[in-house]
Symmetry: C2
């Protein structure tokens, strides 16, 4: 049964309420989000007292969130506060007031807890086996070491973008001396964190609004063809370039930067410098953006409560299934088309010579090829591709999402072309697209009657003679499927550059 939960995260710069609709462990989606820029830390400086105006803004937002939850009938509310409240001398009385006004039990997270939940967001958002997660917010930055896919050491440092603007750079053009002071501060803060050093094979994943915005600015410079930032790899050189440029220009000039969120124009320069220092200290040459963070981590702890760790066993399997379930398409037909596609992929290895890393993309495309039907049946292939492109798939890179979307796009008709998504692809991807699309299409037409009458395929390759026979193993009358499939062999045939013949065979059971 569908349930709803609200999660509220009161940060130093913004506060957000998010509402998830979910079935525990099975599927979820974000239903609603309300974001308020409360700037709770504003003016706090070194006084370490939340200021009256900031308190009033935050209380106002909490009152609205409480009324929101009441009117939506959401009983389950998780409310957390982080560094601004943690650091403030009057944080306790502030939270007591929130409790009194709303009836919630606010949780004041320690820096370690904040880091842990951020890491959960990252591990369930892009996946990470070995490396580090950095969650840089308005007030603090958490560095979390990840080993064997689990969060390990955590440190929380006072390196949030709003705080650094507040203490060092100000909100407009900065003076070189201020930048120098900031650099010294960053170096000094990182000095003790000697375990934050890249080992061979380590990846760095970065969370938070600042780094997402840096990624969008970077994407805009070269016309990145997707609206996705999750899984995007931001090159260190580009990050260093932005860090060296933004503090030198005024807030007004920053507002002209394509991709910049207008309400970050006054703190992005501090965030960019902080990330540059972090990257350098850790010895990384790029970082991977994760769209998810603390709030999502809190959600996953709830959503995956039955597991030993609230981390998906297989994120790349879960996220396409989650999307399929959101559109009611995790069904027998989708699963059978997927199975036939993968049989073709496996049996035709000698003909296509594609890397095994393409196999999961074909799997995901098979599971998702029909989800666009809810938009409209006609052209549902296009709608499936649109939904895949725009909802993204945690655990997959933008390039992979693009490939999966294209496979769905071409699963029933059309000549597979990468189009604008070609910008994400290398030559091998371009070669893979029509091959994978050809396999998916053949599988789709072998499942034309949605009856699984073609139980399996058996491929007989004769590469020397440029010849391939595909046997469709039938458990019943599959004449229509064979006829339809034979009319839809052309994409695969051209892509493999083989003469392909399709014949009927008899299904003798799984052992046959």
């Amino acid at each position: 049964m569908s349930q709803r939960i609200a999660i509220i995260d009161l940060g130093s710069n913004t506060t957000r309420l998010v509402v998830y609709d979910y079935e525990p462990g099975y599927r979820f989606h974000l239903m609603d989000e309300v974001r308020e820029v409360v700037r709770l830390r504003e003016g706090m400086g070194n006084s370490l007292a939340l200021r009256a105006a900031a308190i009033e803004r935050a209380q106002q937002a909490m009152r609205m969130f409480a009324s929101f939850c009441r009117s939506q009938g959401i009983d389950e509310v998780i409310m957390t506060a982080t560094s601004a409240v943690r650091d403030a001398r009057n944080g306790d009385s502030f939270l007591a007031r929130v409790r009194a006004e709303t009836g919630w039990e606010p949780r004041l997270l320690s820096g370690e807890e904040e880091g842990y939940y951020g890491a959960l967001g990252a591990l369930n958002g892009v996946g990470l086996g070995e490396g580090f997660v950095i969650d840089l917010g308005g007030g603090s930055a958490q560095i979390i070491e990840v080993r064997a896919g689990l969060p390990a050491r955590v440190v929380s440092l006072p390196l949030g973008a709003l705080r650094l603007s507040d203490l060092f750079l100000g909100y407009d053009r900065a003076k070189p001396a201020a930048v120098e002071s900031l650099s010294q501060f960053l170096a000094q803060q990182l000095e003790g964190v000697d375990w934050f050093r890249a080992r061979p094979g380590d990846r760095l994943v970065a969370l938070g609004g600042t780094v997402r915005n840096l990624a969008r600015i970077d994407q805009a410079t070269f016309g990145f063809p997707l609206e996705l930032v999750n899984g995007y790899e931001l090159a260190g050189t580009n990050l260093h370039e932005m860090a060296g440029r933004f503090w030198r220009i005024s807030q007004k000039e920053r507002l002209k930067i394509t991709g910049l969120d207008s309400d970050r124009a006054d703190i992005i320069q501090s965030g960019a410098l902080a990330f540059a220092a972090l990257l350098e200290h850790g010895g990384f040459e790029s970082l991977t953006i994760c769209q998810q963070g603390l709030r999502e981590g809190l959600f996953y702890q709830h959503f995956l409560a039955g597991q030993p760790q609230p981390i998906f066993d297989d994120l790349r399997q879960f996220s396409p299934l989650n999307l399929a379930r959101k559109f009611d398409f995790d069904n027998v037909h989708s699963r059978h088309v997927t199975a036939l596609s993968l049989q073709l992929f496996d049996q035709l290895q000698a003909a296509h010579r594609l890397d095994a890393s393409y196999r999961p993309l074909l799997w995901a495309a098979g599971m998702l090829h029909d989800i666009g039907v809810r938009v409209d049946y006609y052209s549902h292939h296009t709608h499936s591709a649109y939904i895949i492109r725009n909802s993204g798939l945690p655990g997959y890179t933008p390039r992979e999402v693009g490939m999966i979307a294209l496979l769905a796009q071409y699963h029933r008709k059309g000549n597979p072309k990468a189009g604008e998504l070609g910008l994400l692809f290398d030559e091998e991807d371009q070669r893979a697209l029509p091959m994978l699309a050809g396999m998916l299409r053949l599988a789709e037409f072998l499942e034309r009657g949605r009856s699984q009458v073609v139980r399996a395929v058996r491929c007989h390759l004769d590469l020397a003679n440029g010849w391939l026979q595909i046997e469709a193993l039938e458990a019943g009358d599959a004449r229509m499927e064979l006829w339809e499939a034979s009319r839809n062999l052309d994409v695969l045939q051209r892509a493999l550059n083989l003469h392909v013949e399709l014949v009927g065979g008899v299904w003798l059971g799984a052992g046959g």
Copy 2:
């Protein structure tokens, strides 16, 4: 509870199986469609016997459909046959064999019944008060008179596109003498139908694959910016031009026509000539395309079984609700945003001076503004617009669908621009867009907390001084809503060219 029904329509040219998912009278959507070109009438000529090859193709398709229904667990199957079987001497034994093989009870529709169900599809697809519906298929064409929104007289004539190609023009380039014979045949068939004449205010609605394809060809000539054909108005002059051109060129040349379905290249010339003759005979200068026909009519008879007539009382109300329900968004928030928008529209009449015909578009946009959330919460405004554009809204013209999509697109951010959809708009539409978007946006932010705390608005206009006060009538603490709404007044303010001030007021109940 969700139910499923399959409807099978065995026509002269194609046969289709469609599957609907529905809750009786409440919501439905097309889940699946399997189309086979069986050309049942092929070779029948004047012999009036279904030929062996045609019978085999049709039986094969029916077997596949039966296996489809079994594997999907669909018990409710409506199977109908039309003109080819009706005209054939061996139609009975053909249907008996279908019955024996599938267990269905095939219904052989009379021309009148075929006309009636086609008209139901039209009345529930584009709406029609007074005029005529023409349903031109492969074998026959039905003309149905519609008076006071109900089907009245019906005639079925042997004017299907496949039949006319078969009997007169052949499938390739035609001889002028053949066209002359066809024209005489058309004139002679229509001679007796003296009641098919346009009265003032009458509209002509046309159904079937042939006319849909003619519309797509027409749309392609000027870069029509939507993928929709339902509700499209095809000008008589353009239809006559196509009718005069297509028979003169070969099938191969026809295949190069942008927008043409390749499997209609051999019969479109006959269909175009038939429509030209029908238009001329009826005295119409244009026709409105309807995407729906016989199959949908059969479905509506089932879906609306509880009503005196299986026709929506208010199609323009039902179709946005149906779309909202498909995405689980017929909810309190959507309805309240809609209500507030319409209050603004009504009370600001003197300021915006928009025609009342814009009001239902604002209503529909209000009901649909959030449906994109299921694709992804972020950018859901863009996803809502995408879904509206691509699923279409029966009862609305493409221009109206475009306007509703744009209003959804701009309901939370951005400066309203028609973009490519401007091609559908006149100057008044261009003026209306930012006004309506401004109202919807203000309503959305007055409902920011989804709590209906702003129960209503009251507008105080002082046009002479270019001044407008909007009172937000609160039933509780609406500070956040007022604050958010005040930051989102700019679109409305610019569009109305008034100084707008927003103030809080007290809700004194519906009588206040």
